[in-house]
């Protein structure tokens, strides 16, 4: 096998045509939908360069030029060496844009050169992926080592924080996707679980109650310990089930008791003439209990249990149990600070978007308007959709930003579930193909870079589509290759084609 591959191969054999085909198909679908989304306001000529579809065509052609440049002109082996410089350069641009950029919808993240606007945050995905691949492909790199871990974290966090500073929350969130790359390269899966747990606790605290959140936290930790120690599987499950059962009953029992005390108290105040001896004084002396909430009982129980489990973990040298206890403590702190984070740390519009998403507030005219109209557009598509240019939601402009961030609405409305299925499967195919190709590579650099590209595409896909169907808060990031806009199209073209070039180089020489 290896010997066969050593001969130099031509373009036809060395490039992943399926990947490129998928890329072209998505771009074509995007262009058709951009035309549909904008023809009602822009006029009917698809090729008129004053219209969005006309402009998009320009972006597409130039993107093809960029792709050619990367495939045929720039030697693929340069990327590894260029990575740190590009990264530094883009980091500089990211900072510079805060001072020199123009403000678009509340965030300063765009450079404007006449009519052309350009967002460094889009490019930053590429340079971060490249540098990440460089750092993680070093021979002495091991993610479980603290030094490697910190270096990786820095590479990701630097652009992420600057972009957060530009108030481009959506773009910053994409960087969280690199955790999947780290996982692929050896990061413990518990980190993913931990992040999932944090999100879960945040949501349950906001929508249900801190009490319920803590009960869920305890249950999750018990189950994790059960699977981690198969020997103690049953005891852990029993402990978990018992604790959850008791804790679920406490609020109910408490409700009974306190309502009884209140009733007795009312009786006593209403019937002052009743001799003291006759009144049921025993219960009313417990009035102080009224001030106690089930949450307090829970905390007292936890304070007792935590030292006990800590000691147990030391005795048994059970690191996982120790970490579980730490997680419990951290989880409780998180639950109680959720409200603070939600009210004080998040900005007003972010808070509202989350409230709408979690159904805490019905706000169909304000923040919830976009999502509602977007869901109406998609939901009204049915199985086969209303047909090209027949989407009424699209035509009447009920969905704002429809050719950019909400392009998926047009797909859903005019092409129906069939269209959505095709588009999402194409993305899944693209991501899977990237991962499989990456895994075939010998060079860790190429492999890691490939995973980075896959992670970026995945994050954009999930956040963007999730937003249009009310699964994610409204976060303004484009749908890769489909949304109108040059910055995004160019960035994803470059991102993907660097991988194709790197992959081609592998195939050529191995």
């Amino acid at each position: 096998m290896i010997l066969e591959n050593q001969t130099k191969r031509g373009l036809g054999q060395s490039v992943d045509w399926k990947l490129i085909g998928c890329y072209l198909l998505l771009i074509l679908i995007g262009w058709v939908n951009v035309y549909s989304a904008s023809h009602a306001t822009d006029g009917t000529s698809a090729l008129d360069f004053a219209t969005r579809s006309g402009k998009q065509l320009v972006w597409i052609v130039t993107a093809f030029g960029l792709a050619g440049l990367i495939l045929f002109v720039i030697p693929a082996r340069w990327w590894e060496g260029l990575a740190p410089w590009l990264y530094a350069g883009v980091a500089f641009l990211l900072v510079a844009v805060i001072f020199l950029g123009v403000e678009v919808k509340g965030s300063r993240s765009w450079f404007a050169f006449g009519p052309v606007r350009f967002q460094p945050a889009e490019v930053s995905k590429i340079t971060t992926s490249l540098l990440l691949a460089v750092v993680m492909s070093q021979p002495n790199f091991k993610i479980s080592q603290i030094k490697s871990f910190i270096l990786t974290a820095l590479v990701i966090a630097l652009p992420m924080l600057i972009i957060l500073g530009e108030k481009e929350t959506g773009s910053a969130l994409v960087y969280a996707g690199f955790i999947f790359v780290l996982y692929r390269e050896g990061l413990s899966g518990w980190w993913l679980a931990l992040i999932g747990l944090v999100i879960l606790l945040f949501i349950t605290t906001l929508t249900l109650s801190p009490y319920t959140s803590i009960v869920i936290l305890i249950a999750v930790l018990c189950i994790c310990n059960a699977f981690q120690r198969p020997k103690e599987f049953m005891p852990w499950i029993l402990i978990g089930a018992g604790v959850v059962l008791v804790l679920s009953l406490i609020p109910w029992l408490w409700g009974l008791l306190t309502s009884h005390i209140t009733a007795v108290n009312e009786l006593r105040t209403n019937l002052v003439t009743v001799p003291e001896a006759d009144a049921p004084t025993g219960l009313s002396k417990l009035s102080f209990l009224l001030k106690i909430e089930p949450l307090h009982i829970l905390l007292v129980l936890a304070l007792g249990a935590i030292p006990w489990f800590t000691i147990k973990s030391f005795r048994e040298r059970n690191l996982f149990l120790g970490l579980s206890v730490a997680t419990l403590v951290a989880g409780i702190v998180l639950v109680f600070s959720t409200d603070f984070i939600f009210q004080k740390v998040l900005q007003d519009h972010q808070r509202k978007r989350i409230e709408v998403l979690l159904g805490m507030k019905e706000d169909l005219s304000g923040v919830g308007y976009n999502v509602n109209q977007s869901m109406i557009a998609i939901g009204s598509g049915g199985m086969r959709g209303k047909g090209f240019l027949n989407g009424t939601q699209t035509a009447y402009g009920f969905v704002p930003e429809q050719s950019t961030d909400f392009i998926f609405c047009t797909v859903g409305e005019e092409w129906g579930f069939a269209g959505c299925l095709v588009v999402i499967l194409l993305y899944v195919f693209l991501i899977v193909r990237l991962m499989l190709d990456a895994d075939k590579c010998r060079e860790s650099f190429t492999r890691i870079y490939g995973y980075c590209v896959a992670a970026c595409v995945f994050m954009h896909l999930f956040i963007n589509v999730g937003m249009t169907i009310g699964l994610m808060p409204v976060i303004g990031i484009p749908l890769p290759l489909l949304s109108y806009g040059g910055s995004s199209l160019w960035a994803f073209t470059v991102l993907i084609f660097i991988f194709i070039a790197l992959y081609r180089q592998e195939k050529k020489y191995f």
Binding site: Y183, I376, I378, G379, C420, I424, G466
Partner: protein, 613 residues
């Protein structure tokens, strides 16, 4: 290990894609409400405006009807480039007007969207016909039928009030009831009975496709709502009498109010200068002119102007004196060209025989007589002090409806003023005033203020011998209810037996013949048995106001009239003949005294009236 991780990542990817597709599947194929919402988003409401209720007079004549006019509507999104000049000619407007309108729509195109805007209001039928022939050349323009007000007779402009399109402030005051483009009554009966008159809008719902073409009725018209016409209103107004009153009052400032005593129904309510119905029909055009008129035609003097009643009020003081027992019809008091009090003070009077009794005092309107009566009321020993006596007198006056809002069904009625004991205590200090201080009240001057409506109601009360029914001008009719209070008798605190004594004086004031000292002999019409009382009220802003109240016939009265003419001089000069002509017109259907009628109609007192700036 590595492959295991990739597998898990692929598995995760599959789960994520399944979540997205699952939710999409759910909203597209399971939850139907999004389709319904999308349909709603494409609905076009074709509004059908109801015709407004017709307003009738008491005899079935139409005071306010409806006629058809057209609004020219524009849907800016559908407008294509067009020949401004031709369309302007067709619509009778300047090309600049069209251009500026189109520019305006263009600027606000985002907020207008696919909606229509009214470009021209109430275009007459002829213009619309011209437009209708060529409108196929102007996509985006269409006509909408609106029914607008039509006034067959020029009667009761101020009463009727006007209808105009609601503005933002009006919509804010009535949240949820009105939309842009709706009409509403703004003044008079149109405003007071808006809820009855307006009817309910209907609409047809259509669905449009993505190209903004109307495709089909929504749910086969199942949810369409037909317009419900407004209820007709029957007023108590006699259109002929109202019109006659307006003609009599032209070029004079003041009011005539006529009431049917038995029912409290207002037969005519003239406020002059008033608003012509031609102005009402096109209030938009005339509004500025009306608002700038120094004589304030919008101001309804009949219920809003507070005047001193003058000698007419002697009747009230006489009745109160009788009821209090401090006056007997046979009491005689001297009059030496007035009532002399203190050191050289005098409340003057005109020349007439002296001393005289109560009946004659009414007939000849003696001032001095009522100074005695009023002082007797206030200095009555049964009260602890003058302030208490004053309050007792006030209670009587209030029971006649004076000094407070009567509660008519006419909006913006004012209450006038009857002073109280505490009022004078505040003004002069307790114990620092006596019956002399307030002696002007005896003859209806001083602090007493009434509206012409009060006077007419008072006249009806006397005609009814002691009770009145709150004056009103809407009759109960099919679908229109009126407050039960408009059927109830309101008794005064003066016993009904006292009234005939006063009425006899009023009869003599009119029917004693010229030269006999009766102040209102001008009003006499043989056979009509008119009873009346003149008044001449001082007006600090110029010549005295001329006041007269009368009712007829003496027994079973059919009409009570109050006339108040600003700066008209003696009551007998203007108010008296005016009221008398009204009575004659109402009772006989015409007038015999054509000379008097012409003199009254031609009389112009506007020069005497001080204008407001």
């Amino acid at each position: 290990m590595d492959n295991g991780r990739r597998t898990r990542l692929l598995f995760g990817l599959g789960v994520a894609a399944a979540i997205l597709l699952g939710k999409i599947f759910y909203i597209q194929l399971i939850d139907g409400h999004y389709k319904e919402e999308a349909l709603r988003n494409t609905m076009v409401y074709d509004v059908i405006y109801p015709t407004r209720g017709v307003i009738y007079d008491r005899n079935g004549k139409i005071l306010v009807g409806n006629k058809v006019a057209y609004d020219i509507m524009v849907t800016p999104k559908e407008v294509e480039a067009f020949d401004t000049l031709t369309l302007a000619q067709v619509l009778d407007v300047t090309p600049e007007f069209l251009r500026s309108k189109m520019d305006e729509y263009h600027r606000n195109i985002r907020s207008i969207g696919h909606q229509s805007r009214v470009m021209l209001r109430q275009v007459p039928a002829e213009t619309y016909m011209r437009f209708d022939e060529v409108k196929y050349r102007y996509p985006g323009f269409r006509g909408q039928v609106r029914s607008i007000r039509d006034y067959p007779i020029n009667a009761g402009g101020n009463l009727l009030g006007y209808v105009s399109e609601v503005d933002q402030a009006f919509m804010d005051r009535h949240p949820g009831e009105y939309k842009r483009g709706d009409y509403a009554g703004k003044t008079g009966i149109e405003a007071a009975r808006e809820a009855d008159l307006r009817g309910e809008k209907g609409y047809h719902i259509y669905l449009r496709n993505a190209k903004n073409q109307v495709e089909q009725p929504y749910k086969d018209g199942e949810e369409d709502v037909e317009a419900v016409p407004g209820h007709d209103i029957v007023t108590t107004i006699d259109a002929d009498l109202q019109q006659f009153g307006q003609e009599l009052m032209q070029n004079k400032v003041g009011s005539i109010v006529a009431i049917e005593p038995a029912t409290g129904e207002i037969l005519a309510l003239v406020s002059s200068p008033g608003i012509d119905v031609t102005q009402l029909a096109d209030i938009g055009k005339h509004y500025k002119e009306i608002a700038q008129n120094p004589y304030k035609p919008m101001y309804n003097r009949a219920v809003q102007a507070s005047y001193p009643p003058g000698s007419v009020f002697k009747l009230a003081n006489g009745l109160i004196g009788l009821e209090e027992g401090v006056l007997k019809p046979e009491y005689q008091y001297p009059c030496n060209h007035g009532y002399h009090f203190g050191a050289g003070h005098k409340l003057g009077c005109h020349g007439h025989p002296s001393p005289l009794d109560m009946e004659t005092s009414i007939m000849m309107s003696c001032n001095a007589y009522y100074c005695y009566v009023y002082r007797n009321i206030l200095d009555n020993k049964k009260y602890k002090g003058i302030d208490e006596a004053m309050d007792a007198w006030r209670e009587y006056a209030l029971s006649f409806g004076f000094g407070r809002k009567l509660g008519t069904d006419f909006p913006s009625e004012l209450g006038g003023n009857i002073p109280s004991g505490s009022f004078y205590n505040r003004r002069y200090g307790k114990g620092h005033w006596n019956s002399i201080t307030v002696i002007s009240n005896s003859i209806g001057q001083g602090e007493i203020l009434i509206t012409p409506m009060h006077l007419a109601n008072f006249c009806a009360t006397v005609a009814n011998r002691g009770h009145y029914i709150i004056p009103h001008m809407i009759k109960a009719s099919e679908g229109v209810e009126i407050d039960p209070k408009y059927y109830e008798r309101q008794y005064t605190l003066v016993d009904t037996t006292q009234f005939p004594k006063v009425i006899q004086g009023m009869w003599r004031a009119v029917n004693s013949g010229p030269g006999m000292g009766g102040t209102a002999w001008v009003a006499a019409v043989p056979g009509l048995d008119i009873c009346g009382k003149t008044g001449t009220a001082q007006n600090p802003r110029g010549a005295d106001n001329s006041v007269f109240i009368c009712f007829a016939p003496k027994d079973h009265p059919k009409i009570a009239v109050a006339a108040y003419v600003e700066n008209g001089g003696f009551g007998a000069t203007w108010a008296c003949p005016l009221a008398s002509l009204m009575v004659e017109k109402y009772l006989t259907g015409d007038t015999q005294r054509k000379d008097l009628e012409r003199r009254m109609k031609e009389g112009n007192l506007m020069g005497r009236v001080k204008k407001d700036k």
